[in-house]
Symmetry: C2
Subunit: 421 residues, 2 copies
């Protein structure tokens, strides 16, 4: 899944060393980049004494950017963090995340509690509350037990340390079955000297066992020195090709957010390589989120090419990837490819079915308006792969896009239905 390319000629001194984790089996957790300190604690929001409060800080000020949910119904900490980013012009000290409670649909009282939780951490850090970004994930419609955060803020700040991103990645989990991280190291020469910089990201995925929401949260950090505007641009470009190209259930949550934080400790870094590393880490995390989605059994990758515009390509890819009929066919490993054509046909994008070409796992299934004469057992095998590869050529232009989802399984339905109170 790596999108790492050989160094371009324009920046031939830079080389990218991939140490990304596998999407299937995480390797050893990578460290945070230089200039970061993190800690986590079990403060009692979640039951069972598992870690549920995580803090990430800079040694000094951090440059910050974020992409937040587009849902009109947003959680209190999102509204708060958005305001902090604006008033602090992207300069912050810390990011506080709790799991076990989403603090969403909680009204003015929820806003007060979100502010209060940032204030107590800010007091322990010795900074202003608006320098502390925050987010919450977990139960919706329930008030945040802020007194537990207050009681634990000093210990949380006291235990901040550099090193592995694992404790933080674990503390933000809700129904994830495993922590998610990815990292890239960039090595390059500048001014005759060897330099390096790191990009490390962690994420929690879309899990929704009662009564939790699919609150996807990701944090991407780097020690590169990046101005705020540039960091914002890097993040948006990376998210566009990763988190905005996946779907487990089509429901945008009230708390979804991706944060980017830069410490600047590693100095300035070649721009295009940094962008590449950001996108690679974001893609890794996005695909881990899909593959740890509830009831996951088999992935779907829909690649659309030959579209008139990039928007057309995205719409067709997304419609096919999210079709319940396509997703159940993939779960059953059933080569019912007519469902793929039917989904493309209802996407709203104008195309001529006589010019469309469909391949699954490389096998030609439909072209020139008629079905191909594909060997049934080979076709069946293509639908049984760990990730079913769907390629649609609309035959009308040069634009393309790719979207990832997964088969819809009985287990998904059970996990989201059978949690009766």
């Amino acid at each position: 899944m790596s999108d790492m390319h050989a160094p371009s000629s324009e920046a031939s001194a830079a080389a990218v060393e991939s140490i990304k984790t596998s999407t299937a089996l995480p390797v050893d957790p990578p460290p945070w980049p230089l200039g970061f300190r993190a800690s986590s604690i079990a403060c009692g929001i979640k039951k069972a004494g598992t870690p549920d409060l995580a803090l990430l800080t800079g040694e000094g000020e951090l440059t910050a950017a974020a992409v937040f949910t587009r849902n009109l119904v947003v959680a209190a900490p999102i509204t708060r963090s958005r305001a902090c980013l604006v008033s602090r012009q992207g300069k912050v000290r810390a990011l506080l995340i709790n799991s076990g409670c989403a603090n969403a649909a909680t009204g003015p009282e929820g806003a007060r509690r979100a502010q209060q939780s940032a204030e107590c951490v800010a007091a322990a850090l010795g900074c202003t509350a608006e320098s502390v970004l925050s987010n919450s994930t977990g139960v919706i419609g329930v008030q945040l037990p802020v007194e537990r955060i207050e009681a634990n803020a000093p210990a949380l700040v006291h235990s901040l340390e550099a090193g592995s991103c694992e404790p933080f990645a674990r503390a933000i989990m809700t129904t994830d079955t495993r922590p998610k991280w990815s990292s890239r190291v960039l090595r390059f020469r500048q001014g005759g000297k060897e330099h390096s910089c790191r990009v490390t990201g962690v994420a929690k995925g879309a899990g929704m066992i009662h009564p939790q929401m699919a609150t996807m949260i990701a944090v991407i950090t780097t020690d590169a020195d990046v101005p705020c505007e540039r960091l914002n641009h890097l993040l948006r470009a990376a998210v566009e090709r990763s988190f905005h190209r996946i779907s487990v259930d089509g429901d945008t949550s009230t708390n979804d957010s991706v944060f980017a934080l830069a410490s600047g400790a590693a100095g300035s870094v070649p721009e295009s390589e940094l962008a590449e590393a950001f996108t690679a880490v974001a893609k890794d995390l996005a695909q881990m989120v899909v593959r740890d989605g509830e009831g996951f059994e088999r992935g779907i990758e829909v690649q659309v090419r030959g579209a008139r515009t990039e928007t057309d390509a995205l719409i067709v890819a997304r419609t096919v990837a999210m079709s319940l009929l396509v997703r159940t066919a993939v779960t059953g490993g059933d080569p019912n490819w007519g469902r793929i054509l039917a989904a493309a046909g209802r996407s709203g994008v104008d195309f001529d079915p006589a010019h469309i070409e469909l391949r699954v796992g490389g096998l030609p299934l439909f072209a020139c308006g008629s079905p191909g004469a594909t060997d049934r057992s080979a076709l069946r095998e293509a639908f049984m792969q760990d990730t079913v590869q769907i390629l649609i050529d609309l035959g009308q232009g040069k634009s393309s896009d790719t979207f990832w989802s997964c088969g819809l399984t009985s287990r998904y339905v059970e996990l989201n239905a059978d949690y009766t109170t």
Copy 2:
């Protein structure tokens, strides 16, 4: 579910006698209106000798209208029927429907076979082929065994008779567990004499056991004398409030169509009452389709009011009704109402969450930006109803709309996945 009102003062001589079937337990099958003849036969397209070919004709010419799938990938008989309606200016002799094969994604050969099947029936009827509308439902990507239709066309025409709509309703079934019909009788005085007119509809629903498609087909007939343009208008208005307001899986099929046929045998009929009866029959059928959807366990009715425009109301209602998270919560009978707010919030319709009001089963759950203090056991009961009633007031206008769907069940996923070849 009846939308029958007392006769309006403008047409006080008209009275509507409802004999509609229950959506849960079909009562005795109603007859076709005057001027219709129907027949059905098992011609061997389906296995197991079940009826798979159905013909509906007029004693003379019928006035016809139709609403077809908006999918760009359309089945051969749809393309053909659309052309027939135009060239015949809405005057036809018959409607031929086969189940067991959708004749979709079958290329030029499929078009030839669709034409051939209409031709052999036209020959037996003694009319032109373009006077015979047709549709198919069943397997996609497989050629229609037209020779079986040819061999059986004379017998099909020979056995045409007036009377019960049941044999026709059964012959068009695919994975439906029961036939679907609904009827209304209008009684009115005109020119000092008692008159009556009937509207009878049949439908097949969205079932998709391998390798069939969700090919919804409905036929609404009347013996009222209605000009083509008016019939077209009646049908579109009825479909807008019925078949366009339901979803089982969000996938528009390649073969979806609703036909309206009028024999004129009962003479002219008060316009508004006829429109009311059309809409009532269409709503009955649409809800039967949802309630016979694969894996159906519990219905969902989403009513949105207080919207700025009708389009806003529809979008919010549809987004909530189709949300996988809402649908799984309903299946589990779990009062996880935060998912309803989250779905409304991502619908794309602009509203202020502080002014939204949410009720489920009449219970106030969220208002003025905060959750209500609803009794948990009453709430749980509201989510356990046979149809879960969701009411969202956007608090910004006077427009409203209603959308119907059903809980997403494990059985749905199994039916659509576990049909490995």
